[in-house]
Amino acid sequence: MKNRLFIKILLTYLALIFVLLGVLDFYLTRDVEKRQTDQIAKGLEERAELLALDIQPDVPLGETQRKVLAAHVPANARITWIEPHGVVLEDTNANPAEMENHAARPEFIEALQGRVGRSIRFSHTLHINFLYVAIPLESDGRIFGALRLAYPLSDLQQQIQVIRRRIWISSLLAFLLAALIGYLLSRSLASRIDALRKFSESIASGNFQQHITLRGHDELNVLAQSLNSTADQLYTLFQSLDAERAKLSTILDNTSEGVLVLDRDKNIVLTNRIFNALFNRRFPTAVGKPWFEVIRHAELQAFIDKTFESQSSATTSLALHDTPERFFQVTLVPVGKKEGRSALWIAVFYDTTELERLERVRKDFIANVSHEMRTPLATIQGYAETLAEGAVNDLERRGDFLERIRLQAERLGKLTGDLLTLSTIEAGKYPFKKSLQDLNRIITDAVIAVDGVARPSAVTVRYQPTVSSLPVECDPDAIHQVLLNLLDNAVKFSRPGGRIEIELRKIDRAVQVAVVDHGIGIPSTDLPRLGERFYRVDKARSRELGGTGLGLAIVKHIVEAHEGKLNIESHLGEGSRFSFTLPVAEH
């Protein structure tokens, strides 16, 4: 890049110098030659005029005259007297008798016409150029011959050679100088152009936060300045675009719905965080991929296909094969219709898992309540009918029947009581009588109360208070109920002769009470549903043990009403740990 520029500049200089040289050589040498020749010719002419004075027509030159003539001509010059017919009469360098006729020589012809004749010819005998000047010899207006002076031009040619050599040498010097200047110039030019190139490249790659400064004040600097301001403008533009995009994507990412945008060919144009969490967990981006690579869900595929065909918006509900299973309502809307086809499709995934769960809980609840009530009612009805049909007189069995009716009625009463408690707590209308209580005492009371249940199956409940008193703001009866329910459950879960521990731990500003058993444990699939009303892990067993299926639900609601949290951990075959937190009273 740099060298190419240098070579270009150098070649330009070289061409320029050569052209200059040629012109210089041509004009200068010709000019010098002409001037010099003129000067010599003039000198020769003057000499010839002087010499002509001494020459008389038809009088041959004497010896002295010849000597005078010879002395008057410049060195190397030759004097020739030619009579009108071209016959040489006298010559300083050769014998006239041996010389050929000169009638055809151009300078002689000129001179015979009364003018000064001049000619330059190459002498084949001496191999040099000769300048011939001939003047007419006149006497009384009659031309009786011509006097010709010949002068070798070898000196002149030598002179011209010298001039030429000088021109060449100085040209060479000029060329070397030009090369040096060209090199330096091209180097600085190339480095500046290179700087500009790098700068524009870095702008092209998106780095707008830099500026370029160049030495000098020429067009390149102007270019640099405009590049700088371009970079500035691009930077502000991109900043605002970035901010806008960040704002949009933040909004999009923080909506609770999953968003997917497809183009008309079902390629993915945009996704948000929720959508990625559902379908594209593992790979950095789904954007640009065809839809079928990302959405591998049979119902959703069918839905998208059908909706694209109909070209109008549609909504569907579907389940995602996740553990735990999640439910979604998906709405696909076409936007930007052009030529009957929409350019973009926006799909919104609305999570209905919680709604589905509530719906299921509601359905289950109604079914469960009916079921729970039907059994005791059927028993009561059955025994009542038996009694009515005459068994009332059977003194032996009457008492047994009545006792059964009483038991079932009691169970119904407990059930409705529990339901009532639950609904009042849920409605926030339960009259909790909160006061400052010692948690230690409540726990100790509960341990004593549960003893009657635990004793028959030889289960022991252990509690060792670690602190003398633990003040907690709560409704003592409610918390007593919570502990009783948890301990009751733990006894039911325990194997005969098992052990139950109550642990107390302080976590930040809360105290955690845990009831730990080493019984049969609960399958992990059942854990999330334990707090639901009537949810039983082992349906047959629980009812046998006299539970209403509402115990844990009540516990959960009481704890939550105390701003606490119920937590259940369990390992199948190893036991369970039911814990709840209560906020510690401020001193």
């Binding site: 790979f283 065809p290 079928f292 690579e293 591998r296 869900h297 049979a298 119902e299 595929q301």
Partner: protein
């Protein structure tokens, strides 16, 4: 002409992935039917059998046509060959799902063996393997495919554990032998599914790296 080929290749991939979605759904539904003792869910699996079989034939036809008419080279050829193989594996997984469902329906008539021991875990592992293998194929991710190959061992171990437990259960509860046998067959079905998922993962590696990793070919070639 070439553009046409690209389109056809993309359609072939799309068909295969539709098939993948259907089979994934079948697997999920058959497992759900098992865990939740939901006969209704099981019937849905039978409904999917027919479209899966139809898709298998369509994919094979398309692949053969592409091979015959376009004579693809190198990467494209590998891709089409893998599609054919994955297609086959997917169909077999679909069959296994049907088998599982038949066992599940048989289990409905018996007293449940509670709990199902490690069956849900094993099923979840197989489901994840299938999902990851297809993900690896779609996204041309050999690393992900290799994790699938590794998790095959987990499934095998789980199957062995389940086998032991069920044998113990059968000797203790002779009345539950039928149910235990059904569970045993289901665990075998799930294991087969995991094997097919492994095949798919191997094909995914073949497409990406052009290397055959079946029967530990990769390890032996490394040793040389």
């Amino acid at each position: 002409m070439h553009r046409h080929f690209e389109e056809e290749l993309s359609e072939l991939k799309q068909k295969l992935l539709s098939m993948g979605s259907l089979v994934e759904r079948s697997l999920h539904q058959s497992i759900k039917a098992l865990i939740e003792r939901d006969a209704q869910m099981g019937l849905k699996v039978f409904d999917d059998e027919e479209p899966i079989n139809r898709l298998q034939i369509e994919i094979d036809d398309r692949a053969m046509r592409l091979l015959a008419l376009q004579q693809p080279m190198a990467g494209d050829l590998r891709l089409i060959a893998s599609v054919v193989k994955i297609n086959n594996d997917l169909e077999r997984i679909g069959d296994q799902c049907v088998n599982i469902t038949q066992r599940v329906l048989s289990l409905m008539h018996q007293t449940p063996i509670s709990p199902l021991i490690d069956m849900p875990r094993m099923a979840a592992a197989a489901e994840k393997m299938l999902h990851d293998a297809l993900d690896a194929f779609v996204n041309r991710n050999a690393d992900l495919a290799r994790t699938v190959l590794e998790s095959d061992d987990t499934v095998d171990h789980l199957r062995d554990d389940i086998f032991q437990e069920l044998v113990k259960y059968m000797s203790a509860h002779p009345e539950g032998v039928q149910a235990a046998l059904d569970l045993l067959l289901i665990s075998r079905n799930i294991e087969r599914i995991a094997d097919h998922a492994t095949n798919i993962a191997e094909d995914a590696i073949f497409v990406v790296a052009g290397r055959d990793v079946r029967h530990h070919m990769e390890e032996t070639s490394k040793e040389k």
